[in-house]
């Protein structure tokens, strides 16, 4: 068993080891790791050290735009995981949320951007929650594993959303028209502030979502029941907790988080609906975020920012002649190392023993 304290430092160690391995790979491929790190710093803070510390706020904006949906995916996976459920259906819930948000954008005619966009975002959350309800009900009622249902529902969501998008005003066969501006989360103020990045109001929703996640899981008796269910289902049932009901609620709330992510993608990043043929992998990235973040609110925030950075730095890496795949390699290594936490602790103990022995011999 790994103690709670150890669980905290393992992700940090994994990040450091992942970066070291990435550095070595960059060196072996004959590029400069200094440029790689400068590029990461540039993508994350907008400060370009290679050009005398010039600051470009657009990069910060794009960094946040990329991070937000991944972070929401992470929150979704984390929430379910705290109840002992693996919400691999987050990808489908994101798609469901996205299509509902765009639908509300087209078909609910309201001119006020605050009201309209809020309704659209809530429609996205609701659709995600409904998409989470299905595996929740099947799990509670027939004990069907949520992973099996979730994976199938991912495809169902993708193809249904494609059909639904094609019923909306189409621009090309692969995308809808832009939704009315009142439905989007884009405001000129943020654009101007960040040198024409696509930064949108979604960050407010993300902050609210982070707060709600923390509040529900850590501070309410409902969250306590969920966690108890996650630790030991039978024990929780014995203690009088309505386990089945909680499973359904948990997947619904997880679905709402994912649905919000989908709404942020369509209403914020794109501003239109896309007919897709393959998953965007936002929900699957969320699994990595949740794993590295240890399924806590702060952990998710940091892990989400880290994975967002590895993604958003890719164009800049390519301009600097560093293969963009290095971002993927580093993130994968971090996930791998976190997943190998038992091995890490084992080796740490071995090294410690070895040092002890060496000291003893003297």
């Amino acid at each position: 068993m790994i103690s709670l304290k150890e669980k905290r430092w393992i992700p940090f160690l994994a990040v450091i080891l992942g970066l070291v391995a990435g550095t070595l790979i960059v060196i072996l491929s004959g590029r400069s790791p200094l440029i790689m790190f400068a590029t990461f710093i540039k993508a994350g803070t907008g400060i370009d050290l290679l050009k005398g510390g010039t600051f470009n706020p657009r990069l910060v904006g794009e960094f946040l735009v990329t991070t937000m949906p991944i972070l929401m995916g992470g929150l979704s996976i984390s929430f379910a995981y705290r109840t002992g459920l693996f919400n691999i259906g987050a990808e489908g819930q994101i798609i469901a949320g996205g299509v509902a948000a765009i639908g509300a954008g087209f078909f609910i005619p309201i001119d006020n951007q605050f009201i309209h966009s809020t309704i659209c975002v809530l429609a996205g959350c609701l659709a995600g929650a409904l998409w989470g309800l299905i595996p929740g009900l099947l799990k509670a009622r027939f004990n069907v594993h949520e992973v099996v249902v979730g994976i199938m529902l991912n495809y169902t969501a993708m193809y249904s959303a494609n059909w639904l998008y094609k019923q909306m005003p189409l621009n090309q066969m692969t995308r809808t028209e832009n939704v009315p501006v009142s439905a989007t989360l884009n405001v000129d103020f943020l654009r101007q502030l960040t040198n024409n990045s696509r930064l949108h109001l979604g960050f407010i929703h993300v902050i609210i979502a982070l707060f709600l996640f923390w509040l529900i899981i850590e501070k309410t008796s409902f969250g306590y029941q969920l966690r108890a269910t996650g630790f030991n289902k039978e024990g929780a049932r014995f203690a009088g907790i309505k386990v089945k009901r909680n499973l359904v609620y948990s997947l619904m709330i997880a679905g709402a988080f994912a649905g919000l992510g989908g709404a942020l993608l369509t209403l914020g990043t794109y501003g239109y609906g896309r007919v897709i043929t393959a998953f965007d992998n936002v929900g699957f990235d969320g699994i990595s975020v949740a794993l590295v973040g240890g399924c806590t609110m702060l952990g998710n925030l940091f892990a989400g920012l880290l994975f967002g950075l590895m993604k958003v730095a890719q164009p800049a890496l390519q301009i600097a002649s560093i293969p963009k795949e290095i971002g993927d390699i580093i993130s994968s290594l971090i996930v791998l190392l976190v997943a190998l936490q038992y091995a890490i602790v084992l080796y740490r103990n071995k090294i410690r023993d070895w040092f002890k022995k060496a000291r003893g011999q003297k």
Partner: protein
């Protein structure tokens, strides 16, 4: 354990010394990266999700840029940069990154870039942009369009001739994404096939993606199993799936390549190829020309380059000694001349819906 530690230490020491050398040498080339004398102009290329090794469209564009750089003796590694987009969310940030980084010319290949380029180009009036397959009316964008229906007409003639001679009553079409652009490929192909073989049934399927070879392969399996022997693919790297399926089946199954001469992508172990011919779309000429224009100061922002059969911007690949017989080549050239002379006008509007098939009489 001790030995292992020593080894690890040595390796890391060596690595870090190397790192020292490396960062030194890269930073010198890095300064040439800027506006130094090594690069008369810097060219940035943003691909769609296909990437520069898609054996098709993006690769052809990349070859054109590189050919000019090579002729001029530029250091291609330093002066030419490419960013591959992972999804359509990347188009705007990728174009912007290149413009911000001070590239003189930023090239975007594909109609998918239309909206994003309309958004980015006005923000960087000093950067010159180039887009292929769509027209973006901005003072700092040059667009290039291709009369794909004309070239597709000629490969349709090739398919029709071969199918008729062999007694195959069906030919196939595999498109990337339904729409105006690929529709023109389909339309030209339909008219070409029926020009020489009106009874032929044309089977039309779309992969709904330009980067899904496995979907292309599934469609090829379906079409070949239904009695099709020749598939014209206009589907980017999705079409590579059809090529690999034809290779597995061996003789008597053909694919018609697209965008560039794909003959050698269809190479078999015995030296033959499954590529009957290719619809050559000279995207490389377009990117070569625009790179040259920017370099020589003749870039005319807002203009549209039109590539068609008359200026050999599109056409069928008709080298002898490959899969086409001399008589077939002769007939194709006859039709080529008729289109050039305006005797035949090829319409860019297809008649067979996605997922269906039809003959000339069933559709007219």
């Amino acid at each position: 354990m001790k030995k292992l530690l020593i080894r690890l230490l040595t390796i890391s020491l060596v690595a870090f010394t190397l790192a020292g050398c490396n960062s030194g040498s890269t930073s010198t080339s890095g300064s040439g990266d800027g506006t130094g004398s090594a690069c008369p102009i810097r060219v940035g290329f943003v691909t769609d999700v296909g990437g520069v090794d898609d054996k098709s469209f993006n690769q052809s564009a990349w070859e054109g840029i590189n050919r000019y750089a090579e002729e001029q003796g530029w250091d291609a590694d330093a002066c030419l940069k490419v960013i591959q987009s992972s999804s359509d969310a990347d188009y705007i940030p990728n174009l912007t990154s290149m413009a911000e980084d001070g590239f003189d010319l930023v090239i975007a290949v594909g109609y998918l870039f239309e909206a994003s380029l309309n958004e980015v180009a006005p923000l960087f009036p000093d950067t010159k942009f180039f887009v292929v397959d769509t027209v973006v009316s901005q003072p700092n964008v040059v667009s290039a369009t291709f009369a794909a229906e004309q070239g597709s007409f000629l490969v349709g003639v090739a398919a029709g001739l071969r199918a008729k001679a062999e007694g195959w009553d069906k030919v196939g079409f595999l498109g990337g994404v339904e729409g105006e652009l690929i529709g023109a490929f389909q339309a030209g192909y339909e008219q070409g096939v029926w020009a020489v073989y009106p009874e032929a049934e044309i089977v039309v399927d779309y992969a709904d993606a330009f980067n899904m070879p496995e979907v292309g392969k599934n469609i090829a399996v379906k079409q070949f199993d239904s009695g099709v022997h020749i598939i014209y693919q206009a589907a980017g790297s999705s079409g590579n799936g059809a090529i690999s399926e034809a290779k597995e089946r061996g003789s008597d199954y053909y694919v018609i390549g697209v965008d560039k001469d794909q003959y050698h992508d269809g190479d078999m172990a015995d030296g033959s190829s499954v590529i009957l011919t290719s619809m050559v779309k000279r995207v490389d000429v377009a990117t070569y020309t625009v790179t040259k224009d920017v370099h020589q100061g003749t870039y005319a922002g807002g203009s549209v380059m039109v590539f068609n059969i008359n200026n050999e911007g599109v056409g069928a690949e008709t080298s002898t000694g490959r899969n086409l017989s001399d008589i077939e080549i002769e007939t194709i050239l006859e039709y080529n001349n008729k289109v050039v002379a305006g005797e035949i006008e090829v319409s860019p509007t297809p008649v067979i819906p996605n997922g269906q098939s039809g003959t000339y009489s069933s559709t007219h």
